[in-house]
């Protein structure tokens, strides 16, 4: 939805690398997108975390180390990809041509607000949904889980999201109060920043393309696609075989007569040698 809001206001721009810095221009879309990706990458206190916790617990208790590892790698792939997507749209340098972008209409903001609140609600109080899932599970004959409104209690571990929520909230409020005690910071525009002693030229730098180049450099040698190479080898050898088979149909009557005579000669040879008929 936040992608839709951005696309609607920037005139159907689909190239992520040409966007950027829209956080203040399209205000509701940024928190909506942030909470959406938080739910996707399973930050605690969003809806994805509880399911991820259950998946990990099951994998660990049942003893599947490699699947757990695969789940973590998958999570990190999600984190890196969706963070780049959010950064390219809303953070970074605002291009000159989007200086006058209007904010999205209310009919686009309302669903984002409702769904963001739902993500937080089901993340902080997962029991609402887990109770329904638990009744479905028991109707299929599985053991009933011990579920409260804010978590799961089992012999392998407990999860209490409301404690985590209050811990994060209290810590954030305390830090905010501490920041308030210090000297108040001055709000400056985004371009008021320096790189290597020089002022940042406008519309010159938007370093978002090839965001994870260091990672790609590291894992490039592991990314050799062996399965694809195998398929290509099968395809090329089948093609070579078919080419040689195709030569049999020469299109000349003389060749076919020769094949018939050779086959008859082969049959006569077999009859003379082993006498099967």
């Amino acid at each position: 939805m936040s992608v839709g809001a951005v696309q609607y206001r920037t005139g159907g721009e689909r190239d992520l690398n040409s966007l950027g810095g829209l956080i203040k221009k399209i205000p509701i879309a940024f928190p909506g997108g942030l909470l959406g990706i938080s739910g996707l990458i399973e930050i605690p206190l969003t809806n994805g975390f509880v399911s991820k916790w259950l998946i990990y617990k099951t994998l660990i208790v049942e003893g599947y180390p490699f699947l757990t590892f695969a789940a973590l790698i998958g999570t990190w792939g999600t984190i890196l990809s969706v963070y780049k997507f959010l950064h390219n749209m809303f953070l970074g340098q605002l291009p000159e041509k989007y200086k006058d972008v209007e904010k999205s209409p209310f009919s686009m903001q309302l669903p984002m607000i409702v769904l963001s609140l739902a993500i937080l609600l089901f993340g902080i109080l997962p029991g609402i949904l887990l109770k329904v899932i638990n009744t479905i599970g028991t109707s299929f004959g599985f053991e009933s889980l011990n579920i409260s409104l804010w978590g799961i209690t089992s012999e392998t571990g407990t999860l209490n999201t409301i404690n985590i929520f209050f811990a994060v909230l209290v810590a954030a409020v305390l830090i905010w109060l501490l920041f308030r005690l210090g000297v108040k910071s001055v709000s400056v525009p985004q371009e008021d920043s320096y790189a290597a002693g020089a002022h940042i030229p406008k519309d010159k730098y938007h370093y978002t393309a090839e965001f994870y180049n260091p990672l790609y450099r590291m894992i490039k040698s592991f990314l050799r696609d062996m399965i694809d190479e195998f398929y290509y080898w099968i395809a090329s050898s089948v093609q070579r075989l078919s080419d040689s088979v195709k030569r049999v149909y020469a299109g000349d009557v003389g060749y076919y007569v020769m094949y018939i005579i050779l086959f008859l000669a082969f049959l006569i040879f077999v009859q003379l040698k082993w006498k099967p008929w």
Partner: protein, 145 residues
């Protein structure tokens, strides 16, 4: 009840003191490896006090909120870590929660940095996220007893 509250209040403070002095120690050791004398052990404390009274700049609301989120995430991770037998929030989740709350610190810093227009910020963000991938993957084998 009182001891629990004391544990919850004291463990982040203890972690802050230990962390700050570890940072000073790390800088000292790094300096000795470079064949330098290095800053004093309490240099991070001096920096903190100086930055507290220095006029700062802000690029917007996310610039401030990201920093708060980052530090709050770090403090909550401390509440889940055991200090000897003291572990204030051990009943609310285990290592898996630590594994995912650890994400808040780099994420908050990345969001906060993203509001500036400096191209070096993007390089820093990508490095920070890749580094935290490197921290979390070795932590996962600890889930097995």
């Amino acid at each position: 009840m009182v001891t629990e509250v004391m544990q919850i209040i004291l463990s982040p403070v203890l972690a802050l003191i230990v962390g700050v002095f570890f940072l000073g120690l790390a800088r000292k050791i790094m300096a000795r490896i470079h064949w330098r004398y290095g800053p004093p052990l309490i240099q991070p404390v001096i920096d903190m006090i100086r930055l507290f009274y220095q006029k700062g700049v802000s690029h917007g609301s996310m610039f401030d909120l990201g920093l708060i989120l980052s530090l709050a995430g770090s403090i909550v991770v401390v509440l889940f870590l055991p200090f000897g037998r003291i572990c204030p929030l051990s009943g609310s989740g285990g290592l898996l929660v630590i594994l995912y709350i650890m994400l808040l610190a780099p994420l908050g810093m990345a969001l906060s940095g993203g509001q500036g227009a400096n191209p070096n910020i993007s390089i820093g963000i990508s490095r920070k996220l890749i580094l935290s991938l490197g921290y979390e993957v070795p932590l996962l084998p600890c889930c097995w007893r």
